[in-house]
Symmetry: C2
Subunit: 379 residues, 2 copies
């Protein structure tokens, strides 16, 4: 039986704050960290086959409890053998708790101490999520990593509001832990809240460590506070977190957010940005973001990103990608999704190699220099 | 230099009417016939990469002059090296003449003896297609097989209307032939018209043979006349067509249309049905058409078609495909497009093997029996 286990292989930086290179062993495979997890909301990374996802170098993907509990429904997924089996993904899978999406429903949801009642965005049907139900749904989905059900404190929040919200999340975290069914190689992560208040973050870290999870996430960031406030919050949070457990920054982010997160001791990331942007024609390249719909690409025979090994960059020209987006062809979003996920995997792989070699600081500087250098000259 | 050449390897049936097994050699590859050509309207077979298209067994694809002349435009495509290079398709490519789409524009087009003036469905801009311009556009697109620009006679048509339309198409065919630039391994096909009138079809066949093309298409069918009238028209048309040139039935069709067309001496087919149906959740299987959105598939762990080797059938369950369509996920249409094109390639490959072995008649009967046997029993 595989044990769910995190091994720290190298660190770089100041004490407990710096970049970390680790290995997370799970029932469904080994994850080299820092790692970026592509998002497969409804049991598919949008517009990609699982072979496509593997080809990018991805080692773990994420799925959303909120979407899957509404459709196809957790009981049905359980009868079909879990999300991994349903979608043909052999590797590890992390599910969020549904909390973030439910909180985003605004008027459609009502929170009380026990949990949240909400209406489906699909058909208006009434549902309820509690720490226990969320944890059980994630078991039915067969998530390798289960997330605690929490309230993602909105930003901005007055300190007393942020404190009350965080403390309820900590009570919920305890209930989630009690509801979690331990299985070899499976793990559950608690989520640090506390908005941008250092003492609340510290209180949350301590509360979660008392409960004792297999890993810890930093939640409530990338919700409008801006990169500087996010980094400042990480700088007062990650140093307090246990070094021997994986740390996951939820819902982050742009390429420079990820490199900055790694620099501040984060091991795991997820974000819809590479796939969502890919569907609108925005590509992330070594030289920054590029909108492939821009007319200047219309006759450009060069690849989108000469340094990239993905199918879009090795098989097709900017001119063709441009045409596909102008003609609203599905192949365009298929190719750009693959490219963007490949790019995210490339920068995290680069970070892993750099930390191993004690060169992360130089890697980070080189990344910023190239990323801000601007797209290649028009022909 | 490769010569554009058709070799008849085997025939089965009554004289010049029966099924034919042939090989068409072109500048861009060899095509085993009978063959089904997937449609890549805007320089992409919708929702499939060219690797996906190759994996189905496809040997030649089709692209649409009307769509490509509007976007990205023939001059631009020529500067980019042609459609095959633009889309990364190394094999042979056939372009239609634009005629069929332009005629379908209704009030947006005006026909005269010289050609057709029409407004773009995209932006209302005014364009003109003549036999010469269509032929030249297809040269700029670098089509392996260029089609003559003709008027697809609407159905139903009075005989005098059908005759006048066909005769104008024959005058246009002569102009197309004069405008065609001969290159080794490239060919041009004339199109037989004449609606459902045997003597008009005969007149059209003779007129085109006088002009002398590398191949001949049967046009003006699958436009509402029904399968019986289509087959009857083929039965009085293909026996008159030269045996030593490839015959192409344009825009056809459903699986049983294709098998029936092969039985009546047709070598080449194209149709949007497998990709278009794939995008709406309709799958073609050995046991007939299946709508994967139907609730009975929601928990069915079996493959869509157990006899199929495509990715959708070997990697995924009906339950997953059903979920993808209910959730409107792009992966659903990617997988069903691949499946449907694979199925079309499978039935034409089966026909080729059968004709070679002198067993096409038995093959055809077995096909109909299985195709009409109904989908597998619900679980």
């Amino acid at each position: 039986m595989t044990k769910f286990q995190f091994e720290l292989k190298a660190t770089e930086g100041q004490g407990n704050l710096g970049a970390r290179r680790g290995t997370l062993t799970t029932a469904h495979g080994v994850i080299e960290t820092p790692v970026f997890m592509p998002v497969g909301t409804a049991a598919t990374v949008k517009a990609m086959t699982v072979d496509d996802v593997w080809a990018t170098g991805a080692m773990i993907i994420l799925a959303n409890t909120y979407h899957l509990m509404l459709r196809p429904g957790p009981e049905r997924v359980e009868r079909l053998g879990g999300i991994r089996k349903l979608m043909g993904w052999d590797g590890p899978l992390l599910t969020d708790s549904g909390g973030f999406q439910v909180m985003s429903l605004g008027d459609l949801r009502k929170i009380d101490e026990d949990g949240v009642t909400f209406k489906s965005h699909l058909d208006g049907s009434k549902h309820r999520l509690t720490p226990e139900r969320s944890t059980d749904i994630q078991r039915m989905l067969d998530a390798t990593i289960t997330m605690a059900f929490d309230e993602c404190t909105p930003f901005p929040a007055e300190k007393d509001v942020a404190a009350a919200s965080m403390r309820m999340s900590m009570r919920w975290a305890k209930r989630c832990r009690e509801a979690f069914q331990h299985r070899p190689g499976y793990g559950q992560f608690g989520i640090v809240q506390g908005s941008i208040y250092p003492d609340l973050r510290a209180e949350s870290v301590a509360a979660l460590e008392d409960i004792d999870f297999e890993g810890y996430a930093v939640g409530g960031l990338a919700v409008g506070e801006g990169q500087q406030a996010m980094f400042e919050t990480l700088e007062v949070t990650t140093p307090l977190m246990r070094a021997d457990k994986p740390r996951y920054l939820m819902g982050v982010g742009k390429p420079d957010d990820i490199i900055g997160g790694i620099a501040r001791g984060i091991d795991m990331f997820d974000c819809v940005m590479p796939t969502r942007s890919g569907r609108t024609g925005q590509a992330f390249t070594r030289r920054g973001a590029v909108n492939i719909k821009n007319a200047r690409h219309a006759e450009d025979p060069r690849p989108l990103d000469e340094g990239c090994s993905c199918k879009a960059c090795t098989h097709y020209s900017r001119a063709y990608l441009h045409h596909l987006f102008k003609a609203e062809e599905v192949l365009g979003l298929m190719l750009l999704s693959q490219h963007n996920i490949t790019y995210y995997q490339d920068i995290t792989r680069g970070a892993r190699d750099a930390i191993e070699n004690g060169e992360f600081d130089a890697y980070q500087r080189a990344f910023h220099e190239e990323y801000s250098s601007g797209d290649i000259e028009p022909l």
